[in-house]
Assembly symmetry: C2
Homo-oligomer: 234 residues x 2
DNA sequence: GACGTTTTAGACAATGGCGCCTAGTTTTAC
DNA sequence: GTAAAACTAGGCGCCATTGTCTAAAACGTC
């Protein structure tokens, strides 16, 4: 009977320690089962078993299966959104060592936003249940990839203004930057596999090198020129 | 005992014309419902209704739900595979007008292999049910994207040998070519939307332009030079 | 027109999940 | 220490679905 007493994942330790822990445990378990089975095939009993919680407790916190589902999606989306914001705030602002800085950024982006658990969960769920929940799809689109490309567009524009890049259409460049960043990993990420650090770095380096070949400074300045040639622009 | 009179795949239209039509009708309807609902949520009754066929007929042709599912996947995969082969066979072999030829190729690739009904169906299904049917995922990977990047790698190498491209790693370039081709469309394709011809052409042009900026002839020849400067290479 | 095959419509049991309820136990608050 | 709240285990009714079965009807062939 008591297969596992695993007391969930984390708890704050104050007053509603138990309740809060239960809630998080349920959310995590539900995310796991929903992601693996899809909404229809996921059973409340299995979620309860994974969460080490009685079925009634789930119905106590979330009125019905659908309520639990949207709560799970909201929870994961909030986490993913915060992480994306955090990663974006570290986009390189400096034209020195642009290739290395961009590579490091792509590594962080892939590792923490796209190839991580939440990112895969959201993509899979949107593709699986997006038809049944259009608002879910729209919300994911605006908060996830939409925000990413919009923000990247502005960040690339800043770099272009400093003379580090030559870009005609910032939105296109942003989408291509994301596409290149995932070119080597999307096959692996699509299904279970998680890339190793070596694979992450290789993928990022390939992506940034090609991106800079296309959008970097023209060849005349690129070869042997110091980055400070057009200094005052920043 | 006479479970199967099915004489393989197609017939000239004599005796069992009706049977073949029923089979195809069932396959099409099942593909539609499986794609929209997923395997678990798809009901045989709905498939029968969409196919305008009695439920018993489905159980007559396919022993159980699972049998029908794998038949559907095989069918769609065969179609998609044939289409991919057809599109790949039209990859530009000539270095003249490379940008236009590549753009036309990308348009065909997106239109007939990636943004079309079968392509979306397979991607969605692999992501939805790949965990339950690993062989399905593996088969799709090898026959679909795997074959695409492998073939593209060889085709790009041929162009590089003619001096039209400068590529260090053909596999990476092939993956990036595919990634760039879908950069503008994947958000639209991920869910219902089908891109218009104008969107298809714009996406292809953006992709090819960036790809050629990165892998095209070096800048010294690129700027203002006629493509015939090194004529004998073609 | 007779015959065999296929399809149809509906009924059928079996299964399993959802959502509710209750009785009993544990945890938390005061 | 006690009362309230939350949790557990299990049972229950309801409903949808799967897969089988049967009798009637449609189809094509001779």
């Amino acid at each position: 009977m008591n297969d596992r007493m695993t007391p969930a994942v984390r708890m704050t330790g104050h007053s509603q320690r138990g309740q809060c822990a239960k809630r998080m445990s349920i959310l995590d378990a539900a995310a796991d089962v929903f992601c693996r089975q899809g909404f229809a095939a996921a059973s409340i009993d299995e979620i309860a078993a994974v969460a080490c919680v009685s079925r009634q407790t789930i119905y106590n916190h979330y009125r019905e299966k659908e309520t639990l589902f949207v709560a799970v999606v909201e929870d994961v989306m909030n986490r993913a959104n915060a992480m994306l914001f955090s990663v974006l705030s570290a986009f390189p602002d400096n034209a020195d060592n642009l290739e290395d800085d961009l590579t490091a950024f792509v590594i962080r982006l892939n590792k923490n936003c796209i190839c991580n658990h939440d990112g895969k969960f959201l993509r899979k769920l949107v593709q699986t249940e997006g038809e049944r929940y259009p608002h879910l799809f729209e919300s994911w689109r605006q908060h996830g990839p939409g925000k990413l490309t919009t923000a990247l567009s502005a960040l690339l524009a800043r770099l272009a203004q400093k003379g580090a890049l030559v870009i005609d259409d910032f939105d296109v460049a942003a989408r291509q930057f994301v596409a290149l960043s995932n070119a080597d990993l999307q096959m692996m990420t699509l299904f279970g596999g998680t890339p190793t650090d070596a694979e992450l770095e290789k993928a990022a380096r390939n992506a940034v090198r090609t991106f800079l070949r296309a959008y970097g400074r023209p060849a005349a300045e690129k070869f042997g020129a110091e980055p400070r040639l057009t200094a005052l622009s920043g």
